[in-house]
Amino acid sequence: MWFPKLASDRVLRAEPVDAPFALTLHQNNTERIYCLNEAAEAAGLHKGMGYADARAFCPDLQSRKADPQADLRFQHTLARWAGRYCPWVGVEGHDGLVLDITGSTHLYGGEAAMLDDMHLRLHRAGIAVRTGLADTRGASWALAHYGRGIAMPGNALGHIGALPVAALRISEGDSVSLQRLGVRLISDLVALPRATVTRRFGPGVLLRLDQALGRRAEEISPLPEAPHYGVRLTLPEPIGLAADVMAGTGRLLERLCTRLKDQEMGARVLNLTLRRVDQASQNIELRLARPLRDPDRILPLFQRGVDKADAGFGIDQLRLEAVRVDALPPEQVSRATVRRQDQLDDLITRIGNRIGLENVRRFLPADSHIPERGYIISPAAFSDPAEGWSAPRPRPVRLFPPEPLHHTGTEPPGRFRWRRMSLTTGRATGPERIAPEWWLADENWRFGVRDYWRVETKQGWRLWLYHTPQNPGWFVQGEFA
């Protein structure tokens, strides 16, 4: 199965355009056409053409940026869809699928009927497709790209013999050289003595030929089936009470957690969808601080979201999906220590669902003498507490962005005003010189080295002042306990 216009079909399905249309991709410093529709082809454009040239050829060309990642996802979606024809579906290149339909054609009433069905459904979906069906993967590729129809069993050569050598999936260079030698068709290549071809082109060309003709086996590797962590519960009568919804969620959780346990996974993000009788649906997202698969612990965490949900005229379907899962291998735990840790994790989850999981953080030590970089702030859900804190010299307990002082000179001021307070220096300890880390560009340290002073004022405040000798100025940066 070959989708010659996979990328543009994907975009055009979302927003149909009745005009020449092309997707452009930035390659080698120029915008090139990545994929285009039939109208654009009729206007004389082709793949790989410069976008500026294409616009000159065809002034009313519409274009979008190409997104190869999304195309890949779309290809995999199609592969999943193709599972309706046979279970053995693999991906071919970046715009094709390969199906091993052995033994499943009779379900559709024969090979031709199956191909017709494929064409019909894909045409209805607005996706251009070319198919080839043969004994071997190579022959069907050749038929899909360069010919059409079904090759009878055991007669692959008869069908693909009349196709050009490029249909053998050989490299462009090989194909051009073969044509220069006058070997234009596959049947011409078969007629040549094998030794001469190998001497001239290496084993690659004959390997492809043998694969196409079935003299050498070629496997199809189907896509792995991604485990799906979603369960649903459809109710005969709509429910509206929060307690009922929680009971339903509890049942779903039990099923989901059994599945997670089989795969040794733990849920990180859960999504509960409540579908109401009027077809509106509500999402309750639960982000967990640790991968979990214990229904008794997860269920209470849903309480807040369920209480806030609006049941309307009633809810008739609950759907629970683990959107993100992490590996959670079974581990031996001791009862004593784990309980408190579990409680703390649940608390982080609950707070995280209120203010955002990334806003619950903890400090980790960092190796830097720059005061602002002596520590790292890391989300608590994704880190563990670390030891190894050391302050070789007294450091303030509170840091703030530097606040300028009105003072000149290299000694700390005797009297100064700070935050609308008039302060008198009682004792000043210092200076402690801290040089910027030149290997990191930091805008705050652009004034060069700093001489830090610990200033104890007669009014009580103990402040951390610094002087920048390279660019004279005084600043307050912190406050001691």
């Binding site: 609950r350 804190w389 307990v397 840091l399 405040w461």
Partner: protein
């Protein structure tokens, strides 16, 4: 004199406390240092001044500390209440800069009671709620010898007397130390007599 202090500090369990004044951070850290277990520090996201874990490692291991940056005043209170109710942290410190109403104060108090934890709100002067168990006013004091000297004043106490103490930090023992009144220091006249 100092025995009275130790009956009030560290502030009682299952209660919500308040502290104000320029030395409030020192008070909160000394409190956390004498409370074993995890500490949750809740503040508002927009604040530019941040606690510095390197500096406060003199008081308590920063690994015990969890911070939560809430969006606004109400979220700080909500997060604080949730944490207190769950009982999985030993102390919840909330940095507030708006007055706490009686309802909010009472809810914090009830949550601390349910979770058997302690709450400490760092508030601006005169913005506390009547529901708080104790309120402390702390200010650093300049001293020629001791650079950790503070004056702690207990200005509200629901179940005890008020008092004023001079406090210094004992870095070795990692706890506060009550400085005796001038007249009661070892070697002074009244003591000898």
């Amino acid at each position: 004199m100092s025995s009275e202090f130790w009956s009030e500090f560290p502030p009682r369990r299952n209660r919500a406390h308040e502290v104000c004044g320029p030395g409030a951070l020192f008070f909160a850290l000394s409190f956390a240092a004498q409370t074993p277990g995890p500490v949750l520090w809740v503040s508002e996201r927009w604040r530019a001044d941040r606690i510095n874990p390197v500096g406060l490692s003199d008081f308590l291991a920063p690994g015990r500390l969890l911070t939560a940056d809430a969006g606004d005043h109400l979220e700080v209170l909500a997060v604080g209440e949730e944490a207190l109710r769950s009982g999985s942290v030993a102390l919840v410190v909330m940095e507030l800069n708006k007055p706490i109403g009686l309802t909010e104060g009472r809810r914090l108090q009830l949550a601390a009671e349910t979770g058997k934890t302690r709450a400490l709100s760092i508030i601006a002067a005169d913005t506390g709620s009547n529901a708080a168990e104790t309120r402390w006013q702390c200010a650093p004091v300049f001293d020629l010898v001791d650079s950790t000297l503070q004056k702690w004043e207990l200005i509200k106490n629901k179940s005890g007397t008020l008092g004023v103490w001079d406090i210094s930090w004992d870095a070795k023992a990692r706890r506060v130390h009550v400085v005796s009144k001038t007249g009661e220091r070892p070697g002074s006249e009244s003591r000898a007599g």
